[in-house]
Subunit: 164 residues, 2 copies
Amino acid sequence: MKTIEVDEELYRYIASNTRHIGESASDILRRLLKLDEQLASVRRQPAPPVATAQGIHKILEQGELARQEAAIDRFMLILSELYKENPAAFAQASDIKGRKRIYFSDSEESLLAAGNTTKPKAIADSPYWVITNTNTGRKRNIVAQLMAAMGYSHGLIEQVCQSI
Amino acid sequence: MKTIEVDEELYRYIASNTRHIGESASDILRRLLKLDEQLASVRRQPAPPVATAQGIHKILEQGELARQEAAIDRFMLILSELYKENPAAFAQASDIKGRKRIYFSDSEESLLAAGNTTKPKAIADSPYWVITNTNTGRKRNIVAQLMAAMGYSHGLIEQVCQSI
DNA sequence: GAACGGATCGGGGGGATATTTC
DNA sequence: ACGAAATATCCCCCCGATCCGT
């Protein structure tokens, strides 16, 4: 991170273009300057086609999920499977966040920056990281939000969360 | 002068756009953002012909509104969209107020000063703030008043308020 | 920042409802 | 004094992250 000086008016202009709380000056400027043009146009787009959910069914049915001792292992396994099943949908859905923490990111640092002791972990077979310092209820919650945004059915979501 | 933090890449991008030695970061950003032109165009007040209402229709139809969990999120999204659709009309319409509270302002302080615990929030992509400590009925009310003053049709106003 | 999982509890936001004002 | 409208208190629930147990 570098520090630069900007005049009052420019500062207010930048601040007025905040999209959501906690958005950094860098993020805002990048958007305004269209620095990541191609990425931006890909995001935000059409509804994710519901995945086949084969991988999810597989870990549910052949007990791979149940075999995990701790909630966090089940949590991480599910996330990894969700990513593999539909990377594009996962990418779109993964911008869910809490009141101040960001839940997913492609970098450990940004997760650390958005909260204290968030204990980020890398999601296996994916470029993503998740926050991990949460109780089990919230882990269920995060999975439910993610799956909903990815287009999975309510029933399957319930089933998966049940088993965390 | 205020200082902001920017990431490495952005910093290099800004530096690479120096026109002459000694040019300040502020100057470069102002040029890149075309800030002076933009401010001028806002000040020019280009008569508020009823906007096309494209943005409003968009968030209504493609479910972005419905996707918001809480009433306040829908409220804030609508206001942001209304501003973007017609900044000049918004500016003129936004002086609506209650018995003692001011509803909109370009500063948090003035909203705080005009009432107790008004819980002001910044409107995304705009220089405005709104009061937030109201029940849902009043939120509808505020949106209705604002849209009416901006010249939207009764039908569309009803539709939008319904969905808050 | 290094053990780690995650329950528990403090803090804060949303907004219905009680209260106040006209 | 009564009703309607506006205010803002206050309760509930959600989120964060400390800290306890393993």
